[in-house]
Protein backbone atom coordinates (compact mmCIF):
# COMPACT_ATOMS: atom_id res chain seq x y z
CA UNK A 1 0.00 0.00 0.00
CA UNK A 2 1.30 3.46 -0.87
CA UNK A 3 1.49 5.78 2.12
CA UNK A 4 -0.62 8.94 1.90
CA UNK A 5 1.74 11.80 2.76
CA UNK A 6 -0.70 14.64 2.07
CA UNK A 7 -1.96 14.58 5.64
CA UNK A 8 1.11 13.04 7.26
CA UNK A 9 1.08 12.51 11.02
CA UNK A 10 4.78 11.84 11.72
CA UNK A 11 5.54 9.31 14.42
CA UNK A 12 8.26 11.43 16.03
CA UNK A 13 5.71 13.28 18.15
CA UNK A 14 2.61 12.74 20.28
CA UNK A 15 -0.96 13.73 19.33
CA UNK A 16 -4.09 14.75 21.14
CA UNK A 17 -6.63 12.59 19.32
CA UNK A 18 -9.61 14.84 20.03
CA UNK A 19 -8.09 18.23 19.24
CA UNK A 20 -5.56 17.21 16.57
CA UNK A 21 -2.75 19.07 18.25
CA UNK A 22 0.79 17.70 18.61
CA UNK A 23 3.61 17.81 21.15
CA UNK A 24 7.27 17.12 20.31
CA UNK A 25 9.23 16.40 23.48
CA UNK A 26 12.94 17.02 23.86
CA UNK A 27 13.98 14.88 26.85
CA UNK A 28 17.46 16.42 27.05
CA UNK A 29 16.08 19.91 27.52
CA UNK A 30 12.79 18.84 29.15
CA UNK A 31 10.91 21.10 26.74
CA UNK A 32 8.15 20.48 24.23
CA UNK A 33 7.03 22.18 21.05
CA UNK A 34 3.28 22.38 20.49
CA UNK A 35 1.38 22.72 17.24
CA UNK A 36 -1.72 21.78 15.27
CA UNK A 37 -1.49 18.64 13.13
CA UNK A 38 -2.14 18.34 9.41
CA UNK A 39 -5.69 17.04 9.81
CA UNK A 40 -6.53 19.73 12.34
CA UNK A 41 -5.34 22.59 10.16
CA UNK A 42 -6.78 21.13 6.95
CA UNK A 43 -10.24 20.66 8.45
CA UNK A 44 -10.23 24.16 9.96
CA UNK A 45 -9.34 25.89 6.73
CA UNK A 46 -7.08 28.86 6.16
CA UNK A 47 -5.98 30.49 9.40
CA UNK A 48 -6.52 34.24 9.27
CA UNK A 49 -5.60 35.20 12.82
CA UNK A 50 -3.74 33.70 15.74
CA UNK A 51 -3.23 34.92 19.30
CA UNK A 52 -0.96 33.03 21.70
CA UNK A 53 -0.08 33.36 25.40
CA UNK A 54 2.98 35.32 26.42
CA UNK A 55 6.35 33.90 27.40
CA UNK A 56 6.20 33.11 31.10
CA UNK A 57 2.47 32.31 31.11
CA UNK A 58 1.30 29.00 32.50
CA UNK A 59 -1.02 26.91 30.34
CA UNK A 60 -3.04 23.83 31.15
CA UNK A 61 -3.92 20.75 29.14
CA UNK A 62 -7.28 21.02 27.33
CA UNK A 63 -7.61 24.66 28.32
CA UNK A 64 -7.31 27.63 26.00
CA UNK A 65 -3.70 28.40 25.13
CA UNK A 66 -4.49 31.15 22.68
CA UNK A 67 -7.22 31.69 20.15
CA UNK A 68 -7.57 31.69 16.40
CA UNK A 69 -9.82 32.43 13.49
CA UNK A 70 -10.13 30.14 10.50
CA UNK A 71 -12.81 30.47 7.85
CA UNK A 72 -14.80 32.87 10.07
CA UNK A 73 -14.82 30.54 13.07
CA UNK A 74 -13.19 31.79 16.24
CA UNK A 75 -12.24 29.80 19.30
CA UNK A 76 -9.51 28.62 21.58
CA UNK A 77 -6.41 26.58 20.84
CA UNK A 78 -6.58 23.79 23.41
CA UNK A 79 -3.14 22.75 24.58
CA UNK A 80 -2.24 19.03 24.63
CA UNK A 81 0.02 19.65 27.64
CA UNK A 82 0.25 21.75 30.78
CA UNK A 83 3.33 23.82 31.39
CA UNK A 84 5.12 27.14 31.31
CA UNK A 85 5.52 29.00 28.02
CA UNK A 86 9.19 29.40 27.09
CA UNK A 87 8.81 30.75 23.54
CA UNK A 88 6.09 31.84 21.14
CA UNK A 89 6.31 31.56 17.36
CA UNK A 90 6.30 35.23 16.40
CA UNK A 91 6.44 34.39 12.69
CA UNK A 92 3.18 32.44 12.95
CA UNK A 93 1.56 35.32 14.83
CA UNK A 94 2.39 37.64 11.92
CA UNK A 95 1.57 35.04 9.27
CA UNK A 96 -0.87 32.39 10.57
CA UNK A 97 -0.86 30.69 7.16
CA UNK A 98 2.48 29.17 8.26
CA UNK A 99 0.40 26.75 10.33
CA UNK A 100 -1.42 25.64 7.18
CA UNK A 101 1.70 25.45 5.05
CA UNK A 102 4.11 23.81 7.48
CA UNK A 103 2.23 22.45 10.51
CA UNK A 104 5.19 20.44 11.86
CA UNK A 105 7.97 22.88 11.05
CA UNK A 106 7.75 26.65 10.77
CA UNK A 107 4.08 26.52 11.83
CA UNK A 108 4.76 25.46 15.44
CA UNK A 109 2.92 27.52 18.07
CA UNK A 110 4.56 27.31 21.47
CA UNK A 111 7.63 25.97 23.21
CA UNK A 112 6.85 25.01 26.79
CA UNK A 113 8.36 23.33 29.82
CA UNK A 114 5.84 20.57 30.51
CA UNK A 115 4.55 20.38 34.06
CA UNK A 116 3.89 16.64 33.92
CA UNK A 117 5.19 15.10 30.71
CA UNK A 118 5.12 11.56 32.07
CA UNK A 119 1.53 11.80 33.25
CA UNK A 120 -0.05 13.84 30.45
CA UNK A 121 1.79 12.20 27.57
CA UNK A 122 0.11 8.95 28.55
CA UNK A 123 -3.13 10.52 27.35
CA UNK A 124 -1.65 11.26 23.90
CA UNK A 125 -1.18 9.00 20.87
CA UNK A 126 2.54 8.32 20.40
CA UNK A 127 5.15 5.89 19.14
CA UNK A 128 3.98 2.75 17.38
CA UNK A 129 0.33 3.66 17.94
CA UNK A 130 0.60 6.68 15.63
CA UNK A 131 0.65 4.79 12.33
CA UNK A 132 -2.61 2.86 12.76
CA UNK A 133 -4.36 5.82 14.40
CA UNK A 134 -3.24 8.16 11.62
CA UNK A 135 -4.48 5.83 8.90
CA UNK A 136 -7.86 5.48 10.60
CA UNK A 137 -8.17 9.22 11.19
CA UNK A 138 -7.30 10.13 7.60
CA UNK A 139 -9.88 7.62 6.37
CA UNK A 140 -12.47 8.99 8.78
CA UNK A 141 -11.82 12.62 7.80
CA UNK A 142 -12.10 11.68 4.13
CA UNK A 143 -15.28 9.70 4.68
CA UNK A 144 -16.87 12.55 6.58
CA UNK A 145 -15.81 15.06 3.94
CA UNK A 146 -13.48 17.19 6.05
CA UNK A 147 -10.45 16.83 3.81
Amino acid sequence: MTADTTYALPADRAYDAAQHTWALYDPAAATALIGIDALGQASMGDLAFLVLPAVGDTIRRNVGAGSLEAAKMTGDVLSPLSGKVLAVNAAALRDPSLVNRDPYGDGWLLKIRPADWAGESAELIAGEAVSDWAEAEITRYRTEGWI
Binding site: A18, Q19, H20, G40, S43, M44, G45, D46, A48, F49, L50, V51, V63, G64, S67, E69, A70, A71, K72, M73, T74, G75, D76, L78, A90, L93, R94, D95, P96, S97, W146
Partner: protein, 362 residues
Protein backbone atom coordinates in the same frame (compact mmCIF):
# COMPACT_ATOMS: atom_id res chain seq x y z
CA UNK B 1 -31.67 15.54 15.58
CA UNK B 2 -34.07 15.08 18.51
CA UNK B 3 -36.79 17.55 19.41
CA UNK B 4 -35.38 20.37 21.51
CA UNK B 5 -36.85 23.33 23.33
CA UNK B 6 -35.16 26.65 22.75
CA UNK B 7 -35.87 29.97 24.37
CA UNK B 8 -36.76 32.59 21.78
CA UNK B 9 -35.68 36.13 22.64
CA UNK B 10 -36.73 39.00 20.40
CA UNK B 11 -35.41 42.40 21.28
CA UNK B 12 -34.97 45.60 19.32
CA UNK B 13 -32.95 48.79 19.51
CA UNK B 14 -30.16 47.20 21.54
CA UNK B 15 -26.82 48.94 21.91
CA UNK B 16 -23.67 47.46 20.42
CA UNK B 17 -22.17 46.66 23.82
CA UNK B 18 -25.34 45.05 25.17
CA UNK B 19 -26.06 43.12 21.99
CA UNK B 20 -22.60 41.55 21.88
CA UNK B 21 -22.21 41.03 25.63
CA UNK B 22 -25.56 39.26 25.76
CA UNK B 23 -24.60 36.89 22.95
CA UNK B 24 -21.26 36.00 24.52
CA UNK B 25 -22.63 35.65 28.05
CA UNK B 26 -25.53 33.41 27.06
CA UNK B 27 -23.22 31.28 24.91
CA UNK B 28 -20.89 30.80 27.87
CA UNK B 29 -23.74 29.98 30.19
CA UNK B 30 -25.42 27.62 27.75
CA UNK B 31 -22.12 25.77 27.44
CA UNK B 32 -21.86 25.52 31.22
CA UNK B 33 -25.48 24.43 31.59
CA UNK B 34 -26.49 27.62 33.40
CA UNK B 35 -28.72 28.95 30.62
CA UNK B 36 -31.09 27.21 28.25
CA UNK B 37 -30.37 26.95 24.51
CA UNK B 38 -31.48 30.25 23.03
CA UNK B 39 -32.36 31.69 19.65
CA UNK B 40 -32.18 35.47 19.69
CA UNK B 41 -33.51 37.57 16.80
CA UNK B 42 -32.77 41.24 17.34
CA UNK B 43 -31.94 44.63 15.88
CA UNK B 44 -29.55 47.38 16.92
CA UNK B 45 -30.16 51.08 17.45
CA UNK B 46 -28.58 53.39 16.71
CA UNK B 47 -26.55 52.10 13.82
CA UNK B 48 -23.29 50.51 14.95
CA UNK B 49 -20.20 49.26 13.18
CA UNK B 50 -18.90 45.87 14.29
CA UNK B 51 -15.56 44.39 13.32
CA UNK B 52 -14.67 40.69 13.38
CA UNK B 53 -13.00 39.13 16.42
CA UNK B 54 -9.39 39.74 15.40
CA UNK B 55 -9.64 42.62 12.94
CA UNK B 56 -7.74 45.85 13.42
CA UNK B 57 -10.59 48.30 13.98
CA UNK B 58 -8.73 51.33 12.68
CA UNK B 59 -8.16 49.52 9.38
CA UNK B 60 -11.74 48.37 8.98
CA UNK B 61 -13.78 51.40 10.03
CA UNK B 62 -13.77 55.08 9.20
CA UNK B 63 -13.20 55.89 12.82
CA UNK B 64 -13.43 59.68 12.49
CA UNK B 65 -16.76 59.45 10.66
CA UNK B 66 -18.18 57.02 13.23
CA UNK B 67 -17.12 59.26 16.11
CA UNK B 68 -18.43 62.43 14.47
CA UNK B 69 -21.78 60.82 13.72
CA UNK B 70 -22.39 58.96 16.96
CA UNK B 71 -22.02 55.49 15.46
CA UNK B 72 -20.73 53.14 18.18
CA UNK B 73 -17.88 50.83 17.17
CA UNK B 74 -17.32 47.45 18.71
CA UNK B 75 -15.80 43.99 18.23
CA UNK B 76 -17.74 40.77 17.78
CA UNK B 77 -16.65 37.51 19.42
CA UNK B 78 -17.23 35.86 16.02
CA UNK B 79 -15.00 36.04 12.98
CA UNK B 80 -15.37 37.58 9.55
CA UNK B 81 -15.41 41.13 8.29
CA UNK B 82 -16.76 44.47 9.46
CA UNK B 83 -20.50 45.03 9.22
CA UNK B 84 -22.96 47.86 9.73
CA UNK B 85 -25.87 46.92 11.97
CA UNK B 86 -29.02 48.90 12.68
CA UNK B 87 -32.75 48.62 12.28
CA UNK B 88 -32.50 47.02 8.83
CA UNK B 89 -30.14 44.09 9.31
CA UNK B 90 -31.73 41.45 11.55
CA UNK B 91 -29.26 39.98 14.03
CA UNK B 92 -29.44 36.22 14.55
CA UNK B 93 -27.71 34.60 17.52
CA UNK B 94 -28.19 30.88 18.08
CA UNK B 95 -26.55 29.77 21.30
CA UNK B 96 -26.25 26.02 21.82
CA UNK B 97 -24.18 23.59 23.85
CA UNK B 98 -21.22 22.35 21.78
CA UNK B 99 -20.37 18.79 20.85
CA UNK B 100 -17.26 17.01 22.03
CA UNK B 101 -14.35 16.33 19.73
CA UNK B 102 -12.48 18.49 17.28
CA UNK B 103 -14.11 21.83 17.98
CA UNK B 104 -13.41 23.44 14.63
CA UNK B 105 -14.47 20.45 12.60
CA UNK B 106 -17.71 20.35 14.52
CA UNK B 107 -18.19 24.08 14.21
CA UNK B 108 -17.75 23.98 10.47
CA UNK B 109 -20.25 21.17 10.26
CA UNK B 110 -22.70 23.28 12.18
CA UNK B 111 -22.01 26.42 10.10
CA UNK B 112 -24.02 24.92 7.25
CA UNK B 113 -26.66 23.64 9.66
CA UNK B 114 -27.26 26.99 11.27
CA UNK B 115 -27.68 28.59 7.89
CA UNK B 116 -30.47 26.15 7.08
CA UNK B 117 -32.78 27.88 9.53
CA UNK B 118 -32.26 31.18 7.74
CA UNK B 119 -32.59 29.55 4.31
CA UNK B 120 -35.87 27.93 5.35
CA UNK B 121 -37.17 31.23 6.65
CA UNK B 122 -36.24 33.07 3.47
CA UNK B 123 -37.71 30.26 1.37
CA UNK B 124 -41.04 30.63 3.15
CA UNK B 125 -41.03 34.26 2.07
CA UNK B 126 -40.34 33.28 -1.53
CA UNK B 127 -36.56 33.82 -1.62
CA UNK B 128 -34.35 30.97 -2.83
CA UNK B 129 -31.06 31.59 -1.07
CA UNK B 130 -28.13 29.22 -0.66
CA UNK B 131 -25.30 28.74 1.79
CA UNK B 132 -21.82 29.13 0.33
CA UNK B 133 -19.21 27.86 2.72
CA UNK B 134 -17.05 30.95 2.55
CA UNK B 135 -19.43 33.40 0.97
CA UNK B 136 -22.14 33.28 3.59
CA UNK B 137 -25.73 33.22 2.37
CA UNK B 138 -26.42 34.54 -1.07
CA UNK B 139 -29.15 34.92 -3.64
CA UNK B 140 -27.93 34.37 -7.18
CA UNK B 141 -24.40 35.50 -6.34
CA UNK B 142 -25.39 38.42 -4.13
CA UNK B 143 -24.81 38.30 -0.37
CA UNK B 144 -27.98 38.60 1.69
CA UNK B 145 -26.65 37.38 5.06
CA UNK B 146 -23.30 36.83 6.77
CA UNK B 147 -22.52 34.02 9.19
CA UNK B 148 -19.82 33.55 11.85
CA UNK B 149 -19.13 31.17 14.71
CA UNK B 150 -17.60 31.54 18.16
CA UNK B 151 -16.73 28.61 20.38
CA UNK B 152 -16.70 29.58 24.06
CA UNK B 153 -14.22 27.95 26.46
CA UNK B 154 -17.22 26.56 28.34
CA UNK B 155 -18.13 24.54 25.24
CA UNK B 156 -21.03 26.74 24.20
CA UNK B 157 -21.27 27.63 20.53
CA UNK B 158 -22.54 30.94 19.17
CA UNK B 159 -23.76 31.15 15.60
CA UNK B 160 -23.96 34.77 14.54
CA UNK B 161 -25.70 36.00 11.43
CA UNK B 162 -26.91 39.29 10.06
CA UNK B 163 -29.80 39.00 7.63
CA UNK B 164 -30.10 42.05 5.40
CA UNK B 165 -33.78 42.92 5.53
CA UNK B 166 -32.66 46.37 4.45
CA UNK B 167 -29.27 48.06 4.17
CA UNK B 168 -28.23 51.69 4.03
CA UNK B 169 -25.44 51.27 1.46
CA UNK B 170 -24.44 54.93 1.49
CA UNK B 171 -24.02 54.87 5.27
CA UNK B 172 -22.18 51.55 5.04
CA UNK B 173 -19.63 53.10 2.66
CA UNK B 174 -19.24 56.09 4.96
CA UNK B 175 -18.75 53.85 7.98
CA UNK B 176 -16.76 50.84 6.79
CA UNK B 177 -13.35 51.20 5.22
CA UNK B 178 -14.29 49.37 2.03
CA UNK B 179 -11.51 49.66 -0.58
CA UNK B 180 -13.21 51.97 -3.07
CA UNK B 181 -11.43 54.97 -4.57
CA UNK B 182 -13.99 57.45 -3.32
CA UNK B 183 -17.54 57.44 -2.10
CA UNK B 184 -19.68 58.61 -5.00
CA UNK B 185 -23.05 57.76 -6.49
CA UNK B 186 -21.22 55.36 -8.79
CA UNK B 187 -19.65 53.44 -5.91
CA UNK B 188 -22.94 53.39 -4.01
CA UNK B 189 -24.72 52.03 -7.07
CA UNK B 190 -22.02 49.43 -7.65
CA UNK B 191 -22.08 48.26 -4.05
CA UNK B 192 -25.89 48.19 -4.02
CA UNK B 193 -25.86 46.01 -7.11
CA UNK B 194 -23.55 43.50 -5.45
CA UNK B 195 -25.46 42.94 -2.27
CA UNK B 196 -29.10 42.12 -1.87
CA UNK B 197 -31.75 42.57 0.77
CA UNK B 198 -34.95 40.80 1.63
CA UNK B 199 -36.90 43.88 0.58
CA UNK B 200 -35.20 44.06 -2.79
CA UNK B 201 -35.70 40.38 -3.49
CA UNK B 202 -39.39 40.58 -2.62
CA UNK B 203 -39.99 43.96 -4.20
CA UNK B 204 -41.97 45.15 -1.22
CA UNK B 205 -41.44 46.92 2.08
CA UNK B 206 -41.64 43.83 4.26
CA UNK B 207 -41.31 44.52 7.98
CA UNK B 208 -38.40 43.27 10.07
CA UNK B 209 -41.00 41.60 12.28
CA UNK B 210 -42.35 39.52 9.40
CA UNK B 211 -38.84 38.39 8.46
CA UNK B 212 -38.12 37.61 12.11
CA UNK B 213 -41.18 35.40 12.36
CA UNK B 214 -40.27 33.60 9.14
CA UNK B 215 -36.73 32.89 10.35
CA UNK B 216 -37.92 31.76 13.76
CA UNK B 217 -40.29 29.33 12.07
CA UNK B 218 -37.50 28.25 9.74
CA UNK B 219 -35.28 27.34 12.68
CA UNK B 220 -38.07 25.51 14.45
CA UNK B 221 -38.72 23.41 11.35
CA UNK B 222 -35.12 22.66 10.40
CA UNK B 223 -33.96 21.85 13.92
CA UNK B 224 -37.24 20.27 15.01
CA UNK B 225 -37.14 22.69 17.90
CA UNK B 226 -39.96 24.04 19.99
CA UNK B 227 -39.49 27.79 20.46
CA UNK B 228 -40.54 29.15 23.83
CA UNK B 229 -40.77 32.97 23.85
CA UNK B 230 -38.87 34.38 26.80
CA UNK B 231 -36.47 37.00 28.05
CA UNK B 232 -33.14 37.20 29.82
CA UNK B 233 -33.35 36.23 33.49
CA UNK B 234 -32.41 38.82 36.14
CA UNK B 235 -29.21 36.84 36.82
CA UNK B 236 -28.35 36.86 33.12
CA UNK B 237 -29.00 40.60 32.88
CA UNK B 238 -26.68 41.26 35.82
CA UNK B 239 -23.94 39.14 34.25
CA UNK B 240 -24.45 40.76 30.84
CA UNK B 241 -24.10 44.20 32.41
CA UNK B 242 -20.89 43.08 34.11
CA UNK B 243 -19.51 41.72 30.82
CA UNK B 244 -20.36 45.02 29.13
CA UNK B 245 -18.44 46.94 31.78
CA UNK B 246 -15.47 44.58 31.84
CA UNK B 247 -15.14 43.94 28.12
CA UNK B 248 -17.48 45.40 25.52
CA UNK B 249 -17.29 48.97 26.82
CA UNK B 250 -13.50 48.95 27.15
CA UNK B 251 -10.98 50.26 24.63
CA UNK B 252 -8.79 47.28 25.49
CA UNK B 253 -11.33 44.99 23.78
CA UNK B 254 -12.63 47.33 21.10
CA UNK B 255 -9.25 48.53 19.85
CA UNK B 256 -7.16 45.42 20.42
CA UNK B 257 -4.89 44.33 17.58
CA UNK B 258 -3.09 41.18 16.52
CA UNK B 259 0.36 40.90 14.97
CA UNK B 260 -1.12 40.23 11.52
CA UNK B 261 -0.38 43.29 9.34
CA UNK B 262 -3.04 45.01 7.22
CA UNK B 263 -2.40 46.64 3.88
CA UNK B 264 -4.24 47.76 0.76
CA UNK B 265 -3.32 48.51 -2.83
CA UNK B 266 -4.81 49.03 -6.27
CA UNK B 267 -3.98 47.98 -9.82
CA UNK B 268 -5.38 49.16 -13.13
CA UNK B 269 -5.16 47.24 -16.37
CA UNK B 270 -6.48 48.05 -19.85
CA UNK B 271 -8.01 45.00 -21.46
CA UNK B 272 -9.90 44.49 -24.73
CA UNK B 273 -13.06 44.42 -22.63
CA UNK B 274 -12.36 47.71 -20.88
CA UNK B 275 -10.39 49.12 -17.99
CA UNK B 276 -10.06 46.98 -14.85
CA UNK B 277 -9.66 48.86 -11.56
CA UNK B 278 -8.87 46.37 -8.79
CA UNK B 279 -8.64 47.32 -5.13
CA UNK B 280 -7.42 44.75 -2.64
CA UNK B 281 -7.11 44.75 1.14
CA UNK B 282 -4.89 42.12 2.74
CA UNK B 283 -4.74 40.80 6.27
CA UNK B 284 -1.37 39.10 6.35
CA UNK B 285 -1.49 36.64 3.47
CA UNK B 286 -5.28 36.55 3.33
CA UNK B 287 -7.36 38.71 0.97
CA UNK B 288 -9.91 40.21 3.31
CA UNK B 289 -11.74 42.25 0.70
CA UNK B 290 -11.57 43.08 -2.98
CA UNK B 291 -13.42 45.55 -5.18
CA UNK B 292 -13.58 44.96 -8.92
CA UNK B 293 -14.31 48.23 -10.72
CA UNK B 294 -13.70 49.71 -14.15
CA UNK B 295 -15.57 50.54 -17.32
CA UNK B 296 -16.27 47.01 -18.53
CA UNK B 297 -19.72 45.52 -19.03
CA UNK B 298 -20.46 42.49 -16.87
CA UNK B 299 -23.36 41.23 -14.77
CA UNK B 300 -23.30 42.69 -11.27
CA UNK B 301 -24.13 39.39 -9.61
CA UNK B 302 -21.19 37.71 -11.37
CA UNK B 303 -18.84 40.48 -10.22
CA UNK B 304 -20.31 40.16 -6.74
CA UNK B 305 -19.46 36.46 -6.84
CA UNK B 306 -15.88 37.19 -7.96
CA UNK B 307 -15.49 39.51 -4.98
CA UNK B 308 -17.19 37.13 -2.55
CA UNK B 309 -15.11 34.11 -3.60
CA UNK B 310 -11.89 36.04 -3.07
CA UNK B 311 -12.94 37.42 0.31
CA UNK B 312 -11.03 35.68 3.17
CA UNK B 313 -9.07 33.83 0.51
CA UNK B 314 -5.34 32.98 0.48
CA UNK B 315 -3.38 35.57 -1.49
CA UNK B 316 -1.10 32.99 -3.16
CA UNK B 317 -1.14 33.57 -6.96
CA UNK B 318 -1.97 29.96 -7.84
CA UNK B 319 -4.89 29.89 -5.42
CA UNK B 320 -6.25 33.20 -6.72
CA UNK B 321 -5.98 32.05 -10.33
CA UNK B 322 -7.71 28.75 -9.57
CA UNK B 323 -10.59 30.49 -7.84
CA UNK B 324 -11.03 32.98 -10.69
CA UNK B 325 -11.05 30.15 -13.23
CA UNK B 326 -13.75 28.38 -11.22
CA UNK B 327 -15.77 31.59 -11.03
CA UNK B 328 -15.63 31.98 -14.81
CA UNK B 329 -16.91 28.43 -15.17
CA UNK B 330 -19.96 29.44 -13.16
CA UNK B 331 -20.56 32.69 -15.07
CA UNK B 332 -19.22 32.13 -18.63
CA UNK B 333 -21.67 34.50 -20.32
CA UNK B 334 -21.88 37.13 -17.59
CA UNK B 335 -18.07 37.54 -17.44
CA UNK B 336 -17.19 37.01 -21.08
CA UNK B 337 -16.36 40.68 -21.71
CA UNK B 338 -13.55 40.59 -19.12
CA UNK B 339 -10.54 38.51 -20.22
CA UNK B 340 -9.81 35.96 -17.52
CA UNK B 341 -6.06 36.35 -17.91
CA UNK B 342 -6.39 40.11 -17.55
CA UNK B 343 -8.42 39.80 -14.37
CA UNK B 344 -5.91 37.33 -12.91
CA UNK B 345 -3.04 39.66 -13.77
CA UNK B 346 -4.73 42.74 -12.32
CA UNK B 347 -5.70 40.99 -9.08
CA UNK B 348 -2.24 39.52 -8.65
CA UNK B 349 -0.62 42.90 -9.28
CA UNK B 350 -2.81 44.51 -6.62
CA UNK B 351 -2.04 41.67 -4.21
CA UNK B 352 1.70 41.97 -4.84
CA UNK B 353 1.57 45.71 -4.18
CA UNK B 354 -0.39 45.22 -0.97
CA UNK B 355 2.06 42.55 0.17
CA UNK B 356 4.97 44.86 -0.63
CA UNK B 357 3.34 47.55 1.49
CA UNK B 358 3.37 45.15 4.45
CA UNK B 359 7.09 44.53 3.99
CA UNK B 360 7.77 48.24 3.65
CA UNK B 361 5.91 48.91 6.89
CA UNK B 362 8.09 46.51 8.91
Amino acid sequence: MSTATWRLITDDDVTASFGLAADELITRWVGAGQSVPTLRLYTYAPHCALVGRFQRLESELRVDYCRANGIPMNRRPTGGGAILMGAGPLGVALMLPGAEGNVYRRARDQMAQVSEGILAGLRSLGIEAEFRRKNDIEVNGRKIAGVGIYRAPSDGVLFHASVLVDLDVALMLQTLNIPVEKISDKEIAAMSARTSTVRRELGRDISVEEVRQAIATGYAQVFDAELSPGDFTPEERDAIAALEREKYLTDEWIFQATAVPDSAAAARLKTPGGLLDIRVALSGRIIKSIFVGGDFFAADNAIADVEARLRWHPAEPEAVAATLRATYERWPIELESIPLDGLIEAVQTAVERAAAAQVAAL
